[in-house]
């Protein structure tokens, strides 16, 4: 308590604030905070407890403590490590692809042209459509080698039609995810471009700087926090990918497209091995925290540099 008072804070938190006053400030926050803690932190605690138990819903035996056996299983499970690799690959490649495509389109859409508003509205639509619905549609109407649009297009070019889902399932998944999330990158990056320092750009133009120089030495530094924020938000969403995997490839073939989320789902809800699934969850949680901490530092860096009045 004493710490919060002595810390240099806005005037509202002057040392004169009584205990009651401080609780009055906190009051509006509490319902949301308590709800979130109960719903997100409490389950993790239970996951931790389940992870050291031998508990399979298919066997009649009650859950018993089995020490680190589930973790030994986890560390020895080749598919688990593969699923972590897949998660990293899918998240990383899709995030970069979304930002590259999104930035390219944002640069184009930042210029005035007839119907720009409509073009932009059409471009952001994939972000809103129901993922389950479009995934099922892509599976047959886009990826099918016989009558899918991609197959038709490759035949048009005189190339053999590729069976994306069996030959390049991970690439197919990344294409779908990139298509779905590029609009999100686009939305934020357009906003970034619109706030670009026009006087500086004009001055650079007068000084004879070409478009590339302008882009490299003025736009990129200006856009950096926007790109970082986009990458962070995209990665946060892409790491959790589930529906697309379940309905496009069902994690296959041979676990080639299984990510952590999907593997925990398979262990828990297909094999009903709640103990091992919980151990997967704990390891995934530890890895995520290791990745999230630098991400949070990055985000708070963005805050201190730019925003905040």
């Amino acid at each position: 308590m004493a710490k919060t008072i002595t810390a240099p804070r806005p005037a509202l938190l002057a040392p004169g604030l009584s205990r009651l006053e401080r609780w009055k400030l906190r009051g509006p926050l509490l319902p949301a905070l308590i709800f979130t803690i109960l719903l997100t932190q409490f389950p993790f605690l239970l996951t931790l407890i389940y992870s050291v138990q031998n508990w399979n819903l298919l066997s009649a035996k009650p859950a018993v403590f089995n020490g680190g056996a589930n973790f030994l299983d986890t560390f020895g499970d080749e598919v688990f490590w593969r699923s972590i690799g897949n998660t990293g690959l899918m998240t990383g490649v899709s995030t970069v692809a979304c930002i590259v495509v999104g930035l390219g389109l944002a640069l184009l859409l930042n210029h005035k042209f007839p119907g720009r508003g409509i073009a932009r509205t059409l471009a952001i639509t994939p972000f809103f459509v129901m993922p389950v619905a479009v995934t099922l549609f892509w599976r047959s109407a886009m990826f099918d080698p016989g009558f899918g649009l991609f197959g038709w297009f490759s035949r048009l070019l005189g190339l053999p039609a590729v069976n994306w889902l069996s030959e390049y399932p991970l690439a197919a998944l990344i294409i779908l995810l990139t298509w779905r999330f590029t609009p999100f990158a686009l939305l934020i990056l357009i906003a970034g471009l619109q706030s670009a320092p026009q006087e500086q750009l004009e001055a650079a133009r007068v000084d004879g700087a070409g478009p590339l120089r302008q882009f490299g030495s003025i736009l990129v530094p200006h856009l950096r926090p926007y790109i970082e924020l986009t990458a962070l938000l995209l990665a946060m969403n892409l790491v959790q990918t589930f529906g697309e995997i379940a309905l496009l490839t069902a994690g296959g073939p041979a676990f080639g497209t299984t990510n952590i989320t999907y593997y925990i789902y398979l262990k828990g809800f297909n094999s009903f091995d709640l103990g091992t699934a919980s151990a997967f969850g704990v390891v995934a949680l530890v890895i995520t925290i290791a990745l999230v901490l630098p991400a949070l530092r990055l985000l708070s860096g963005i805050f201190q540099k730019e925003g905040r009045r």
């Binding site: 979130t36 042209f113 073009a119 059409l122 129901m130 109407a141 809800f269």
Partner: protein, 293 residues
């Protein structure tokens, strides 16, 4: 380019000559940028347009090797969707979206207030706690939630879905609404305080009207996420569920039919597409989270 350089430079002073030479190339550039912008946007939209097109085709037309652009439209696919028990799931979806979004906004507005207008101590830390919950793997918490829901007898109910959707959207809503509240000039708040407006009145009659567009787009985005949500629906419900699960069940009967998929996918996506289009303007400001200006 070639036309501009071959233009005869007759009787014009040097400066005008430069202007003439520059204008067409600038014009050409902006035409190319416009074309590129349209091309890129249409390419992103193409799968959706193609989906709508296929939804009006017969199955044999939809399974043709080359895309058919000219065909006799049929409503059979849509009829099939409605006949497969669409409405109970649709009503469930509407209930879950409306109730969860209403609760999210009701919880998020006071929380955002306590994190921006009259900030609590360490409000930045609280804010980062909220966003960090969105980074945690959802799968790491699903097993205890399943076990607890079973114990409480709420598995396969709309209640559990509503609770999970609130948890899913609350951090996002708090961040977005907070960033809209941050934009309110401090002078307005001070003036209200000088006028002796109570905090409650200040919130209701000054802040809420100012952030209303932001609230609307936050609610629309939360609604979109709730409508589209699949992971909790699949793991926590079965017969009493929402439209994503209906779609999955609808298609698991027999073979995967492209035209039927297209019709169902189009139908289910219409509400969220409209919501997204309405929300897009103020969405960006909210999504920037007040992190960058």
């Amino acid at each position: 380019m070639t036309t501009t350089t071959s233009r005869p430079a007759t009787m014009s002073p040097a400066r005008r000559q430069i202007a003439i030479r520059r204008r067409p190339s600038k014009h050409l550039k902006s035409v190319l940028m416009g074309l590129g912008g349209w091309l890129g946007s249409l390419l992103l939209f193409l799968p959706i347009a193609y989906m709508v097109l296929k939804s009006f085709q017969t199955e044999p037309d939809a399974a043709a090797a080359a895309p058919k652009l000219i065909f006799t439209p049929t409503m059979e696919n849509y009829k099939g969707v409605f006949e497969a028990g669409f409405w109970p799931y649709a009503i469930n979806s509407i209930i879950v979206v409306l109730v969860s979004t209403a609760v999210v906004i009701a919880l998020a507005v006071p929380a955002a207030y306590a994190l921006s207008i009259r900030p609590v101590a360490k409000s930045q830390d609280v804010l980062f706690f909220f966003i960090s919950t969105k980074m945690m793997p959802i799968a790491a918490g699903i097993i205890p939630i399943y076990v607890i829901a079973t114990a409480l007898g709420v598995l396969n109910t709309l209640g559990i879905l509503i609770v999970m959707h609130i948890g899913m959207n609350l951090p996002l809503a708090i961040w977005m609404i907070r960033s809209f509240m941050q934009e309110i000039p401090a002078e307005i708040m001070e003036a209200a305080a000088v006028d002796g407006a109570s905090r409650w009145r200040g919130l209701r009659s000054i802040i809420l009207p100012l952030v209303r567009p932001g609230l609307a787009s936050t609610a629309l985005l939360c609604g979109v996420f709730s409508w589209n949500e699949y992971f909790y629906a699949l793991n926590l419900t079965n017969s009493t569920s929402t439209l994503p699960l209906f779609l999955q069940k609808f298609l698991s009967f027999g073979e995967l039919y492209t035209a039927h998929v297209a019709a169902a996918a189009t139908l289910l996506s219409i509400p969220v597409i409209i919501a997204g289009w309405i929300a897009q303007k103020s969405l960006v400001r909210g999504l920037l989270f007040g992190a960058v200006k």
